[in-house]
């Protein structure tokens, strides 16, 4: 089992493709997406009840090495600054199979 970083990004669902583009740019080894989330933060309540998903959140989880996690965080900062969202990074062990 290898130590790694678990990066967790919460963002508006319409902006998902922008985050995935950032992941591509930094060369993330993979990702998992959780959709149809709701929540609340600085920009108020997101009830997720619009027809278009414009008030839905989604969560992208990326497991990667520390160095890439930092790079990813920097690349995400402007996206999050412009349109809100949250990014958490924590430690994990990755089961190599």
């Amino acid at each position: 089992m290898t130590p790694c970083k678990r990066v967790e990004i919460i963002i508006d669902e319409p902006l998902l493709r922008r985050v995935l583009a950032v992941l591509d740019d930094v060369g993330a080894p993979g990702h998992t997406v959780y959709r149809n989330l709701t929540g609340s933060g600085n920009r108020g309540t997101r009830r997720g009840d619009e027809l278009t998903g414009v008030f839905n959140n989604c969560c992208v989880v990326v497991a990667c090495e520390e160095r890439m996690a930092m790079e990813l965080a920097e690349a995400l900062r402007p996206v999050l600054k412009r349109s809100g969202g949250m990014c958490l990074i924590s430690d994990a062990l990755w089961l190599r199979h």
Partner: protein
């Protein structure tokens, strides 16, 4: 306004179901329609109205008025956002003004559909090519809104405009695509196609519309409280600007010599504001605009106003002309 048209409108089942949904949300009932179902209903309505319009087109003869009204529709959809933007810009900032401009320049398919149900009830004919007008009016305002923000917004907007993405989101978004496509299919397959699809696209149509408006009532009423933060000025805008646009649309239709039904449809297209195509596109291309401002205005004020009062009111005005 005479009471007759108004009563005809608000006692029609679709409008009553809208009230029921709004009431459910206001008393905080847990009545709720799953998001997947709401999307299904909206896809159904777009498909059905597009197909119906296409079959009507196949049955009608081409005329210059048709072409003229399509062009007029595009002109309306490009002028209205510019008016809205300059009305609001100084008061609420460039980003939100651009967002509202895009919202009110574009159109609401469900408002259009509710108006067709109203006309069908009164047995007043309307033309299939207005469905094409509906589709053509959805996109221009999005592009114009973005451009206005780029021209008048803060200089330091670091991120370059991604034209390709913008145009795709504006002109190829799902609802435009589905209406235009279904219109084409209706046109190709004509009355023979209608024979096959009528039970699906026509017979159960009003019922599906009822269910969808029930959901719209819930969504609209839930957003009412967000309006408090927007202030009286925007509330006034959301109620008065559509009326002004309806007059604009009526005037244009009058110049073109459109029929009673078609005039009402053009007026309602001008008066309606988007809450589906526009927010989806703006979140990507204009994240600076706050969706908690433009969505509640369009969904919780303009939409109910139009389907409850607007349709019979504009109709009354047209009858007076």
């Amino acid at each position: 306004m005479e009471l007759g048209l108004f009563l005809t409108n608000i006692t029609a089942p679709p409008v009553l179901f809208f009230f029921l949904g709004a009431a459910a949300a206001l008393v905080r009932s847990d009545l709720e329609i799953p998001q997947a179902i709401a999307r299904f209903l909206s896809l159904y309505l777009l498909l059905a109205i597009g197909f119906k319009g296409g079959v009507a087109l196949a049955e009608s003869t081409w005329s210059l008025t048709m072409l003229a009204s399509l062009i007029a529709a595009i002109v309306l959809a490009s002028t209205i956002p510019i008016l809205a933007f300059f009305l609001l810009r100084r008061r609420i900032g460039t980003a939100d003004a651009a967002g509202i401009a895009a919202t009110y320049g574009s159109v609401s398919a469900v408002t259009f559909i509710t108006a067709t149900a109203y006309l069908d009830l009164l047995q007043i004919p309307w033309s299939g090519h207005l469905v094409a007008a509906l589709a053509l009016m959805e996109s221009p305002a999005i592009v114009i809104g973005i451009l206005l923000f780029r021209l008048y917004g803060p200089r330091d907007t670091a991120v370059a405009l991604q034209w390709r993405e913008l145009l795709r989101d504006a002109f190829l978004n799902g609802s435009v695509f589905l209406i235009l496509g279904s219109l084409l299919i209706g046109w190709i397959s004509g009355p023979a196609g209608m024979d096959q699809l009528a039970p699906f696209t026509t017979h159960i149509f009003t019922g599906m519309l009822c269910l969808f408006l029930l959901d719209m009532g819930i969504l609209a009423a839930r957003r009412l409280e967000e309006l408090r933060r927007s202030g009286a000025m925007l509330v006034g805008f959301a109620l008065l600007f559509p009326m002004f646009c309806a007059l604009l649309g009526t005037g244009v239709a009058w110049l073109l010599g459109l029929s009673e039904g078609d005039t009402l449809m053009l007026a309602i297209l001008a008066a309606s504001a988007s809450y589906i195509a526009v927010p989806a596109a703006l979140r990507l291309t204009l994240p600076e605009a706050n969706p908690s401002i433009y969505v509640p205005m369009s969904l919780a004020l303009t939409f109910p106003f139009n389907i409850v009062f607007g349709i019979p009111l504009y109709h009354q005005i047209i009858q007076w002309l």
